[in-house]
Symmetry: C2
Subunit: 195 residues, 2 copies
Amino acid sequence: MPRAGLTETRVVEEGERIADEVGLSGLTLAALAERLGVRQPSLYKHVAGTDGLRRSIALRAKTELAGVLRRATVGRARGDAISSMAWAYRAWATEHPGRYAAAQRAPVPGDLEDERASADVVQVAFDVMAGYDLRDDDAVDAIRGLRAALHGFVTLEAAGGFGLPVDINRSFDRLVVGLATAFAEWSDGSGGGDR
Amino acid sequence: MPRAGLTETRVVEEGERIADEVGLSGLTLAALAERLGVRQPSLYKHVAGTDGLRRSIALRAKTELAGVLRRATVGRARGDAISSMAWAYRAWATEHPGRYAAAQRAPVPGDLEDERASADVVQVAFDVMAGYDLRDDDAVDAIRGLRAALHGFVTLEAAGGFGLPVDINRSFDRLVVGLATAFAEWSDGSGGGDR
DNA sequence: GGTCGATAGCTATTGACATTAGCCCAATGG
DNA sequence: CCATTGGGCTAATGTCAATAGCTATCGACC
């Protein structure tokens, strides 16, 4: 009986494919093993069970997303950077729904590698906010707002929560532009850090 | 052997409690049966399996949430109404995380009761937007943006996605006010329905 | 080329959970 | 008092995760 030649990378990548095709909840070790031509328990030689597999997918997804966002912002500033980043975020999430869902789990405290990957995503947004002269708490507020809006939009869209036959791209654009405008107003003194 | 005296309502309410206590994913028929002092298969006399139970919880959650939001908006208008509704939304979601999660599933097409309950929630937001003179597509854009922001914020908060030690209430307030301001600008001609 | 150790993949087993089939007895109404 | 309804039960099946322990393959090294 010849070996299947699995590696952790091959297992995780096939898991990503399943997650994107049938949703994260449809990613089972049974389905994964079948796709790899192997019996379920064999997977434990390469990944630490369901939890380990999901963590690996999350880690890679966060890293990839951070790169996508970073590339979307180079050479752009302020509202231009925010819009570009927002569209890149939505596009990636839409194209990779399973990976995106996996990336939502917050790292378990003490998991330095995961904490690092999560921070990388946030760092892109931080850098964009610096272009607005938003710093410290103001930047945190803006990032939280932007993340919430993007994550909520993408999630609702994926769940079919936008039932009405109205152009979704237009809704998204107006939301992003509206937020960018709000951030711009925060930065010029009117609604600064005191409340 | 005396009867347990279950009804559909009792079963669903206990299910809601479990979901809020341990999360929607922790709501199993096994756990529910144990809490009710009954064997698993007995539950099938009252609810249609896991799917039916979750649907019932979702239905009740949507109805309750719609009522909460409605009460938060009476006697208020424009930004005041939006803020009040937003805070009520977040408070309810935070206090009832399991029910809130259950309410996120979109109704299966043709499930009129569920479609009705879902529409009730949206209707509250529609009525608020009418106070901004936002109608039709403009109102849809605004509602999608608001829903996305609220849902995203609440979800990220519940998942522990806001790691930094910065006041979350303040971040939420600024997001809501920022959106309300953006909506106000949409309504006075500057960014109307053409794009 | 032969040997040996590490380990990939296997079978077998256990345990949680969902679900269906079919039984029996309790409650209710005539 | 009896008949019907239906609530709760046991038994059984299927899916999936996970662990234990075996075997044989592969690569390193002599």
